[in-house]
Each structure stands twice: as structure tokens, then as C-alpha cells.
């Protein structure tokens, strides 16, 4: 098939990418992994890069995600913050799951913030909304609702000047 490219093409599917759980904090700008191609103590790092890095980049499109290979004897991750601070995370002889759980604790957005963001997005995307920033400007555009009084005058019962007029 022309689109099943690479060793594990499931990593390229939308479902897999959306299922990524590592959403990095906003202050992290660069996420760099150092590992080697050979060596048992690098196996966890290699697996992490193979399976979880596409998800990380998908969930954080504005973070520079990079890998440096065969440069150091032990594997580690470096996170660069916008303040210029660096955080080194040693991943020698750790499995990819352990690395992932640790990263979730240390450099990812906490669960409640993610939930709040999800809620905000849902509110924004709700197709039932109308007004500024939505598809429909006014409820009068919807078929079945009261038409715009600018086009069709309201009946007298609905107009304030007739309702509250004291004769």
C-alpha cells in the first residue's frame, strides 16, 4: 500500500497520534533526546523515541523536538525553557513506559488544566452557539426562529411600545 510506510505505520495514523498523552507545559520550547543505536541501556530510550516521539510532536506542534544519536555513553532528555533554564532527565536503563510516566509527572500540563482547556475548546466549537466569533451572528438567522425585526416587523404584542403603553 502506498501509505503504509516505515517500520510501524500505525504511528502515522491519526488515531494513534490523537491518543498521545504527553502535552508539554507552555514554557518548554525545545525537547531534545540523546541516545545511541546500540547498547542495552539505551533500549528504553530507543523505544521511547520510536513510539512516543510522533505523539509528542503532534500534541505540541510549536515545540522543537529533536534527537541526537551516538554522541554520549548514556541516554538522557534535555528540556529547554523560555527562561533559558535547562532540565536534564536521565533515562539510563529505563523502559519507555517508565520514561513516559516520569515525563508526565515532571514536564506535562497537569490533568485539571488539560480538562479546562478541553472544556474551553468544546465551548468554542459548539455549533449551537451564535454571536461574535461563531458561524451564525444572530438567532434570527435560524429557520424556525423569530425573523429579524429589521426585515420583518414584529407583531404588536411583542413590541414594548404597545405592551407598556398606557392609554
Amino acid at each position: 500500500m502506498p501509505f503504509m510506510k516505515g517500520k510501524a505505520p500505525v504511528r502515522r495514523t491519526l488515531k494513534y497520534l490523537e491518543a498521545g498523552s504527553l502535552v508539554l507545559k507552555e514554557r518548554i520550547k525545545i525537547f531534545c533526546v540523546n541516545y545511541n543505536h546500540h547498547g542495552n541501556h539505551h533500549k528504553g530510550a530507543r523505544d521511547f523515541v520510536f513510539w512516543y516521539l510522533p505523539q509528542i510532536q503532534y500534541k505540541n506542534p510549536n515545540v522543537q523536538v529533536m534527537t541526537l544519536t551516538n554522541m554520549t555513553p548514556s541516554p538522557f532528555i534535555t528540556c529547554f525553557f523560555d527562561t533559558g533554564e535547562r532540565m536534564h532527565i536521565d533515562i539510563d536503563s529505563k523502559t519507555k513506559e517508565e520514561v513516559q510516566t516520569h515525563l508526565k509527572k515532571v514536564i506535562c500540563k497537569p490533568g485539571h488544566i488539560l480538562a479546562a482547556e478541553l472544556k474551553a475548546v468544546q465551548k468554542k466549537n459548539n455549533p449551537a452557539n451564535f454571536g461574535f466569533g461563531c458561524d451564525r451572528q444572530c438567532i434570527c438567522e435560524v429557520f424556525g426562529q423569530v425573523p429579524c425585526p429589521g426585515l420583518v416587523p414584529l407583531p404588536k404584542e411583542m413590541r414594548g411600545k404597545y405592551k407598556y403603553a398606557k392609554d
Binding site: R27, H41, S74, M87, H88, I89, D90, I91, D92, S93, K94, H102, K105, V106, I107, P110
Partner: protein, 227 residues
């Protein structure tokens, strides 16, 4: 006077009837204007020299009511604007709530850094152990290799010595310059006859003219296999 009228009259086209020229409409009734405005360099007209403009008279009650209404309206409007301004400030990045959020963030960041330090220490311990084990393994393998190399060296030396011994043994039978005469005499004295035949049972028939029928069966020799 005439000239001024002419010059002023020429401003017809530019005073709005230009549009009529463009549209090529011929209106039935055209009213011309002398001028639109008195030029500033002309003196005040004689009829207007001592004119005193009439001050407008305002009804007191009306003005009070109007001012009351205006004040009310403007107060309301100011209140709404101030409210919106305050809301905007509250939601802005430099508000106290946002600053508290950043302080919280800073604290959380410090916590995360500490946790990461702990993790790094543990991993460092694991790495030290692994390196020690690897070191031990390497030392043992190197020792084993050295021992094996020594053994091989010993074997080689033994083989070499054996070869030397064999050669020494065989050197006794070498023909040198001393015993060449004796060797020649011995060789001449003991000729070796290679003309013999062998049959399938292994019996030798010596001599190059000997037929198998010449040798009686009880005098046959069997070939000696040299092992």
C-alpha cells in the same frame, strides 16, 4: 467690478454644475449663484456693520431637565465603560489572579525540578552498579584471555621443542661429509630391488621377470604393511 463678476461667474462649472456637464443632461431651469461664501478680504457690508446678534434664550426648566437627563445618561454610560475596563484588567496577564497563577506555576516548577533531581539520582545509582558489573565482567574476560594466551604460548613452545628433539634424533642418521664414504659403500653393498609385483591377496613376487606361476604357493610372502 465687471471683471470680478466675470471671474466669480466663471466658477459656475466648478460649483456643482460640473456634474451636469458629465451626465450631458440639459436642465430646463438653471439657477446660478453669485458666490457661495463671502471672501475674507472683503470688508463687512454696510447693512451688517452694526449688527448685534441676538443671544438665544433658553427656557430654565427645559435646560435643567435636559441637563438632568444628560447627566443620568452619561453616568450610566461611564459606569458601563468602567465595568468593562475592570473586567478587561482582571482578565489581562498582569492582573493579581494571573500573577498568583504564575507564582503557583513557579512553585510547581520547583517541585517538578526536585522530583526530577530525585529520579536522576536513582538512575545514577543504577548506572553506577551497571558500570561496576561491566567492569568486573571485562576484567574477568581479560584475565581469561591472558591465561588462554599463555597456554597457547606454552603449547607452541612444547611443539617447537618436540620438533627440535625429533630432528636431533633423525640427525643421527644424516649423511654428512664425515660418513659419506661409508654411506656410499653401504649403499653399493645393499642394493634394493624395487621390481616386484603384488597380487590381490597381498603376495609379493620379487624380480622383474618372475611370473606368478614360478613361485610355489607355500613359499609366498605376504606384503608387510608398515603402520
Amino acid at each position: 467690478m465687471l471683471r470680478s463678476m466675470n471671474t466669480l461667474g466663471c466658477s459656475l462649472k466648478y460649483s456643482g454644475l460640473h456634474a451636469l456637464n458629465e451626465l450631458r443632461i440639459k436642465p430646463v431651469c438653471v439657477q446660478s449663484v453669485r458666490w457661495k461664501r463671502k471672501p475674507r478680504w472683503l470688508p463687512v457690508a454696510k447693512s451688517k456693520q452694526f449688527r448685534v446678534p441676538e443671544r438665544p434664550k433658553f427656557d430654565e426648566g427645559e435646560t435643567l431637565e435636559l441637563r438632568r437627563l444628560y447627566d443620568r445618561y452619561r453616568t450610566h454610560l461611564r459606569a458601563v465603560r468602567k465595568y468593562l475596563k475592570q473586567e478587561f484588567i482582571d482578565l489581562s496577564a498582569s492582573s493579581s489572579a494571573a500573577l498568583e497563577g504564575t507564582q503557583n506555576e513557579a512553585e510547581e516548577h520547583q517541585l517538578c525540578l526536585k522530583e526530577n533531581e530525585e529520579w536522576n539520582k536513582q538512575v545514577a545509582l543504577l548506572r553506577e552498579q551497571r558500570l561496576l558489573q561491566e567492569q568486573e565482567a571485562r576484567r574477568e574476560s581479560i584475565l581469561a584471555k591472558l591465561v588462554a594466551a599463555e597456554e597457547r604460548q606454552k603449547e607452541r613452545m612444547e611443539k617447537a621443542e618436540e620438533m627440535v628433539r625429533e630432528e636431533k634424533e633423525r640427525a643421527k642418521f644424516y649423511i654428512t661429509a664425515d660418513n659419506i664414504d661409508k654411506a656410499i659403500e653401504d649403499a653399493l653393498a645393499s642394493p634394493v630391488d624395487h621390481n616386484y609385483a603384488i597380487d590381490l591377496e597381498g603376495h609379493i613376487y620379487r624380480g622383474h621377470k618372475t611370473k606368478p606361476s614360478d613361485v610355489p604357493p607355500d613359499e609366498l610372502e605376504k606384503i608387510q604393511v608398515q603402520g
